[in-house]
């Protein structure tokens, strides 16, 4: 965990007071809605179909038990008792009142949590691998660099009114769980041949109505230059990004229109002028920030302790263990994913009680640390293997031990037309119906890893372009229709899915997905060949033939 200090606390207190004043000015009429909207957005406050929505930042997906408990408190006191974890490692409260927001924000600030820069045309919450600091795969803890970027980008005077929103993601592992190739800036931390640490820098990735895979503009940026280089990118974007058309305002359009080479040349020129300036990350600055991450005091424990091996004789526990428990860098410990995808439940939602149980479990077994992944699941990154059976028992008791992580019913879905003012079609009930079709988890396991992503409109909050199966809701003369793509992926081999065929109406979607899955079962070279690899090998055609023949 990163520990906020007096600077962070003063900053937050000032922001809460400022927003309280802005809300008062809005309610009194001193601020018009046009003036207030960007201010509330900068604090994570949207107006949706039924109510205001507060999006709370969970910087790089890391929460303490105390913070999670406070989220539960806000859910109960100011909302309808639940919250929705998003694809950007944030949480959203869907029913909050404007007049209650200052109080809710003050409550969150008590534990260092806020909604700052979860919306608006600014640098958004920086995201990273939810296994950061725990996985044996990484070269360094990416949260350190995400935290440096969080501080740098918070209330940045030059970059708070960008042409459009700006999202940065970091991975420090070869296997990318942070989807860095589909972000405005994607950073891959790695070591060069000399063993020095630096970033591969990608720009101009993104989804939405014009999806792009990010383009590499640098193989290796020495880590000490991270901030100056990011500032150079931001400045080029702020100056030259399009502002004439909201749909062409993201950096991906600028990079696409002038070309990655010309864009890179502008950035390098700008960077040359500032690289040795005030943003240079001297070792003491980095070490100071690193020192305020509390590293768990891991015990010396054996792998596969008797408590675990004994419990594995219980088939239900063994199934969950195979599915939801992952290798840790420290012997005797594991990373645990908590599925928020109970079959038939809204993906990513957690009730106040569930949040509190997770907070207690984190405090009891997991050094007080909780993570949120972009797949809309939670994670306890540091669990002793001997505690896994008890942890599982308590998760199961509250509906949080569905062993379907990465399976066909671990569906990513945006809030869709049930909440969102931008949506054209519903997403959550589509996810629920598909999940029910695969409620037999033996069947789902037989299918293997398969990511379904659903977006209720072209803005693509459900990341449908990079779903192994992507589902996009569209409106056709007042009716909900859904376009299906297959073969997308968000990882280190990121690519956009290919359209399977004509859009189908709401009622036909679950059946169509089952047909796609059946086609895969028939077409795959072996049970080890994942869905997405079968699509890569055979293309879309064989799927199209089988699926549309049936409809």
């Amino acid at each position: 965990m990163y520990v906020y200090d007096e600077f962070d606390r003063s900053f937050l207190a000032e922001r809460v007071a400022e927003f309280r004043d802005q809300v008062e000015r809005r309610l009194s009429g001193a601020l018009s809605e046009d003036e207030f909207k960007p201010l509330r957005l900068m604090n994570g406050v949207y107006l949706q179909l039924h109510a205001y929505m507060l999006r709370v930042a969970i910087p790089y997906g890391t929460l303490s038990g105390a913070q999670m408990r406070k989220l539960a408190h806000v859910a109960r006191t100011y909302d309808k008792g639940y919250g929705h974890f998003t694809t950007r490692q944030n949480i959203q409260f869907n029913w909050i009142k404007l007049e209650d927001l200052p109080a809710a924000m003050a409550a969150l600030a008590e534990v260092g949590v806020h909604g700052i820069q979860t919306s608006g045309n600014c640098i958004r919450n920086v995201t990273t691998d939810q296994w950061a600091g725990a996985t044996p795969e990484e070269v360094d803890d990416p949260r350190l660099w995400a935290e440096i970027l969080r501080q740098y980008s918070t209330a940045h005077p030059e970059f708070s009114y960008l042409p459009r929103k700006f999202k940065i993601a970091i991975t420090a592992a070869d296997h990318d769980r942070a989807a860095v190739k589909v972000h405005d800036v994607g950073l891959r931390l790695h070591r060069n041949a000399q063993g020095e640490m630096g970033f591969e820098v990608l720009v101009g990735g993104g989804l939405g109505r014009t999806p792009f895979i990010g383009k590499k503009i640098r193989d290796f940026l020495p880590a000490e230059h991270l901030l100056s280089y990011v500032e150079a990118i931001m400045r080029v974007y702020n100056r030259f990004g399009r502002r004439d058309n909201i749909y062409k305002a993201r950096i991906k359009i600028l990079v696409h229109e002038i070309g990655a080479e010309a864009f890179s040349a502008e950035v390098e020129k700008e960077w040359e002028a500032i690289r040795e300036g005030a943003l240079h990350l001297d070792a003491p600055v980095v070490e100071d920030i690193r020192s305020r991450f509390i590293t768990p005091d891991f015990a010396q424990l054996p792998d596969h302790p008797a408590e675990l091996t004994g419990a594995l004789e219980n088939p239900a526990f063994a199934t969950w263990h195979r599915n939801s428990v992952h290798a840790h860098k420290v012997p005797g410990y594991s990373i645990v994913t908590i599925s928020l995808k109970a079959v038939g439940a809204p993906p990513g939602d957690a009730t106040g009680e569930q949040m509190e149980v997770v907070a207690d479990l984190a405090d009891t077994y997991g050094f007080g640390e909780i993570r949120v992944g972009h797949e809309q699941n939670l994670c306890l990154p540091n669990i002793a293997q001997k505690d896994l059976p008890e942890l599982w028992r308590r998760l199961e008791a509250i509906g949080l031990a569905t062993p379907n992580v990465n399976l066909v019913n671990d569906i990513i879905a945006c809030p869709g037309l049930d909440y969102c003012a931008l949506a054209n079609a519903r997403a959550i009930p589509v996810a629920q119906e598909i999940a029910k079709r695969f409620a037999d988890l033996d069947r789902a396991r037989g299918v293997g890893r398969l990511h379904i992503n659903i977006s209720g409109c072209i803005n693509a909050c459900g990341h449908h372009h990079v779903g192994h199966i992507g589902i996009l809701g569209v409106d056709k003369a007042g009716e909900e229709f859904y376009q299906i793509t297959i073969g997308g992926r968000a990882d280190e081999h990121a690519q956009l899915g290919t359209l399977l065929g004509p859009a189908v109406p709401y009622d036909q979607v679950p059946g169509l997905i089952e047909d796609i899955v059946d086609a895969y079962m028939e077409l795959r070279a072996s049970p080890r060949e994942l869905f997405v690899d079968t699509v890569a090998r055979l293309g879309v055609e064989p799927f199209k033939e089988r699926v549309y023949a049936a409809h």
Binding site: R26, L47, H50, K80, G81, L98, P346, D349, A350, R426
Partner: protein, 112 residues
């Protein structure tokens, strides 16, 4: 952006003006008396573009009551009641189309 008042308005059936209440975001409808109500039944229903525009103009007069007023279609039900004219508006009236998460789970659990 074009102000909603400058947009061409096409009215092909009964419509109302709706918005969200500033203080709490609640869905509200414009009444014939020039107030806002949380009940669709209280909404002023008009059928021509000039009437709709007049209703919308009234709704824009004070922006401290309601936010983002717009014209939405309605239909008259068999019993004469006004009902929302499309799915989006129906969801705004009735809420999400699935059971909201709750600490007390529904009594009809799904098969494990």
């Amino acid at each position: 952006m074009t102000s909603p008042l400058q947009q061409k308005i096409k009215v092909t059936g009964p419509v109302v003006v709706t918005a969200n209440r500033l203080a709490d975001g609640a869905v509200v409808w414009r009444t014939a008396a020039g107030t806002w109500s949380t009940a669709l039944a209280d909404a002023a229903v008009v059928t021509t573009a000039p009437d709709a525009l007049a209703l919308l103009e009234g709704a824009h007069e004070r922006d401290t009551d309601a936010v983002g007023p717009y014209i939405a279609p309605v239909v008259k039900g068999a019993d004469g009641r006004i009902e929302p004219g499309n799915r989006r508006e129906r969801i705004r009236v009735e809420g999400p189309t699935f059971a909201l998460p709750s600490d007390t789970p529904p009594t009809d659990p799904l098969p494990a």
